[in-house]
Symmetry: C2
Subunit: 407 residues, 2 copies
Amino acid sequence: MRYSNLFGKTLRDFPKDEVSVNAKYLLRAGFIDKLMAGSFTLLPLGFRVVEKIKQIIRDEMDATGANEMLMPLLHPKEIWNETGRWETAKGIMFQLKKDNKEYGLSFTHEEIVMDLIRKRTQSFKDFPIKIYHFSTKFRDEPRAKSGILRGREFIMKDLYSAHTSKEDMEKYYWEVAKAYIKTFKRMGLNAKIVEAAGGVFTDAHTHEFQVLCEQGEDTIYYCDSCDFAQNKEIFEGKGGKPCPKCKKGKIIEAKAIEVGNIFPLGTMYSEKMHFHFTDRNGSKKPVVLASYGIGPTRLLGTLVEVFHDDKGIIWPKSVAPYGAHLISINSNEKADSVYRALEKEGIEVLYDDRETGAGEKFADADLIGIPVRLVVSPKTENRIEYKERGSEKIELLPLEDVLKKLK
Amino acid sequence: MRYSNLFGKTLRDFPKDEVSVNAKYLLRAGFIDKLMAGSFTLLPLGFRVVEKIKQIIRDEMDATGANEMLMPLLHPKEIWNETGRWETAKGIMFQLKKDNKEYGLSFTHEEIVMDLIRKRTQSFKDFPIKIYHFSTKFRDEPRAKSGILRGREFIMKDLYSAHTSKEDMEKYYWEVAKAYIKTFKRMGLNAKIVEAAGGVFTDAHTHEFQVLCEQGEDTIYYCDSCDFAQNKEIFEGKGGKPCPKCKKGKIIEAKAIEVGNIFPLGTMYSEKMHFHFTDRNGSKKPVVLASYGIGPTRLLGTLVEVFHDDKGIIWPKSVAPYGAHLISINSNEKADSVYRALEKEGIEVLYDDRETGAGEKFADADLIGIPVRLVVSPKTENRIEYKERGSEKIELLPLEDVLKKLK
């Protein structure tokens, strides 16, 4: 992509009304634009990162045998009334009335998925069901200071699984937990599995995936020796004390960003919505539901919080919008041919072909944060300057070596 | 994909409350499910078709130099007020109020894209701009008898282009028109470019892409000799009369389905929203806007209306959910090995591995409409029965010939 053709160029200054690092950097570097509090456009650069994040999630969800699909966003009140959440979730849900019909906007999809399952299944043979979608969620959040970490409109991958027994649900629940850890690792993030409360979803304990980060909104308590970890909401104790589980380790208090959560919902939704499958013996039983969320747009922000320096973003390779950032300094003809050679080899390149000073181009490259910067100038002669974003080392390499490194 | 693992199996009967062919077939074959009037879940099969449709559209939009991105769906009233459409589009737009703030749901994005452009551009150097997204649209449509052809919630690809002159806009406008014709052709659809009125978008004439189909909601008048074609709303004349343009041909009246539309919007949005760019001479001028829509979910329905017989759907290869439908008749071990061989070669296969009678499997294959049916049974010995969905010819082929045909 030629930078001259890219919509959403870098801005000269940081936006004045943003306090979070992710919003400051993503807005200034041209990844997102703000429509209103908690609502952002994904500009072409940001869209590319989110698509790469989604593809990693999709791979790992498909590997568990889940089916991708897409459910609507505008829901009839009647279905939300079946569980009582039309009333209990009124604070978070956007609701509207038109021509005497009432609708709610998707803040989650448990009721809608349960309605779908009851229409499309009958007997135990139809289970287990594992279905997910990437869709828009609307939540009227009171806090909106964390940039794209907490949107009032955002993208979520939500997976729902329905089972004929608690045991079958629990087996898949922990399989998904493992897939989540792998998903985050592929983006360079080490997530901890943390016990938490179920909020408006369930009375049971649930599990969050938390990435340690000083800018996180959440406080977690974890053991420095075993896998014990709890969210502030449910932890009874203090940092510095011995671990209540292994008795050996020490409890650490830390700030963290929640990047995913999983909910062992049980039979509540099935019972309240009067759906019962027929088991092997012909009797009617409620299905056991679980739901599993990851927010790709929240991950976009989390990655910036975790991977940046004072010059800009430092994208992990797996989610970078492009593999290389090619800069021409008064050498557009030579740079054009390098650009064509890279594209021909299937390497994704952002090519800064503007008539702009070298200083501005270098500063923009650091701000945008593509993993490899390539410079072609009269000084580089028939070679290319190669530099990784996270390192200070600069090499002068022939084209074939650059291609080898980038493949 | 093993059919036993696929969510959304075929239903025994056609749904009773649907009159349109597309809704009957898509619901029964397991491509979609209905949440409420005009609102459908894309089940895994339907989701796959829509993703293929989207990829074809994406290819052709990218080829015009357009950038993909994603704009929000929940919009602040203030921006819609700038053009007066908060009031004039009240009938079609879902509007809501929460905590004293008013919002509209996206029925289109002109105002939102214009707000984005005014924040992110300044001078003539920043133009032309060509940006698009696939996003959800909400329209409170009074008619909802046409299945997925007219949803109250649906997916749309909307492209917006902004230019410094009318001439530059018109050049790109006709480039996109060509890209649209190519897009539809790649799905097996011959679309006519038909002049039409601009509705709530513009006072200018616009262009629709219409596919002839007896089940279409639209009536068009076209010349059987030249490229003259107009929508009923603006055509002044009758079918059977001589063509007002070429004077040679005869005007045909026909039913058609609108699969796309393009709008030469002009400077109205820029002027009403007080955005002016700086031109070469330092003076301020309004930008010339155009918008371009294609509905992937409407295409899903159109394809079924155009490509079906009394047994079910007949998908064109380019958008079929899978390339082959493999049926095992009492030969699961042999069929498993064929399935593995096909998957290894990268062929997308739906494998009916159920313990069900041959009759049901054949009927389901015809209903689902995948282009090639493969049967493995004790009778086929070490060969595979190969049959195309649109033909009656059955061949017995060795695996390597099947692979060659499917690649």
